[in-house]
Amino acid sequence: MHELSITQSVVTAITQRMGDVPVRRVRLEIGRLSGLVPDSVRFCFELVTAGTSCEGALLEIDEPAGRAHCRTCDADFDTTEVLPLCDCGSADVATLGGTELRIKEVEVTETCVPPADVRPTPGSG
């Protein structure tokens, strides 16, 4: 259940950057080969946001598919495996995508003054 401590750190990272401003929506990116289970993160999110500015926020999780490149035959292909095998039989495969683990964006009420290192974009509220 490493999702619990990782989700806790997500909420800490958001509250540190955004202060006390109520967060309406959180968008994460959890690649399908990342080793994190999105459903567990959703479960933990509700637990760890209780009493924080993220309480009640909608959690959106993008799940980029696994993508790999075979160094033997040069083919690129989709994969659901952490250790993919190419159709040519080679296991000499580099993972190109699906390992993402990022907090993409948050949606907060407008009163927020974003810190200098974040880029505000037009709201959709």
Binding site: G35, L47, D92, R102, E107, C112, P120
Partner: protein, 285 residues
């Protein structure tokens, strides 16, 4: 304790220095300014009766609720906080010329037995200290303490892995000596510890021949980051159905060219090769 997930608000992480190896706590002569606030770790489940309104209708995009909102792009790595602390640990270890190894395996693979033997055989030549990670008890720290090595037990409570923050706390109390070898014995678990950088110089994954040879394929996240794989308990090979060649082949699918040493921590097979690997790590630092 939270009845739903088993996590506990009050049984947080505990760091304990064994009396026999070093009196007191925190006499460290270095200043890790980690500034982490443990008070917050035990997120308050007290009145958290899981009576949330699951039907909250944020998804409906009803635009009538209150003030307008702003979308702020963060693009922060989920593990950024841990990675930052790990980097601090790594810097501190480098400054003090301490080579740290993160030892990971499933429970019962023989990590503690291997460490007891290693410290007894190598301790006179290379000063060793240990951070012991377990959910509960001081049992492993007591075993290591009996070898004369300095040891700190980190009990993770509900936690299933060590993280960089716990290791920073452990380092503060342990204060490993200049030029020493530090073994961090992670919580026995082939899943969760894989994602957490502790600031170690190398990762050692230990398998034993009483496990399935296909574990590297089943737990790829763990094996893909290994710098060394030890196959322990090879004295038992005559009695178990374990194909070492196949296991090594699978490990190298996860991590091409990963070095593998077959050992028996009880009978002594292969240990000289393991010690040479350790000497090389210390020499290279």
């Amino acid at each position: 304790m939270c009845a739903t997930c088993g996590c506990s608000a009050d049984a947080g992480v505990r760091v304990t220095m064994l009396e026999r190896s070093r009196a007191g706590t925190g006499s460290s002569d270095h200043e890790h300014d980690h500034g982490h606030d443990h008070g917050n770790h035990g997120h308050d489940h007290g009145d958290h009766g899981h009576d949330h309104d699951h039907g909250h209708d944020h998804g409906g995009h009803e635009h009538a609720h209150g003030p307008t909102t702003t979308v702020v792009s963060l693009e922060v790595d989920l593990l950024a906080k841990n990675d930052e602390l790990a980097q601090r640990n790594r810097s501190w270890l480098a400054e003090h010329d301490v080579v740290a190894l993160n030892l990971m395996s499933s429970p019962g693979a023989g990590k503690t037995t291997l460490l007891e033997r290693t410290i007894r055989d190598l301790g006179a030549e290379l000063p060793c200290s240990v951070l012991e990670g377990d959910q509960e008890t001081l049992l492993d720290a007591e075993r290591i303490g009996a070898t004369g090595a300095r040891v700190v037990q980190i009990n993770t409570g509900a936690g299933c892995h060590l993280d960089a923050d716990m290791v920073a706390d452990g380092l503060r109390v342990l204060a490993p000596e200049q030029g020493s070898l530090l073994f961090v014995e992670n919580v026995g678990n082939l899943v969760c510890p894989a994602l957490f950088d502790l600031g170690e110089g190398a990762r050692v994954v230990i398998m034993s021949v009483t496990e399935g040879a296909d574990k590297p394929l089943k737990y790829p996240h763990m094996f893909r980051t290994a710098d060394l794989m030890l196959v322990n308990k090879i004295d038992l090979l005559p009695y178990v159905d374990f194909d070492v060649t196949r296991c090594v082949e699978y490990a190298r699918r996860a991590k091409p060219d990963v070095p593998v040493i077959e050992v028996s921590a009880t009978r002594g097979d292969g240990l000289s090769t393991w010690y040479d690997w350790l000497r090389a790590r210390v020499g290279a630092s």
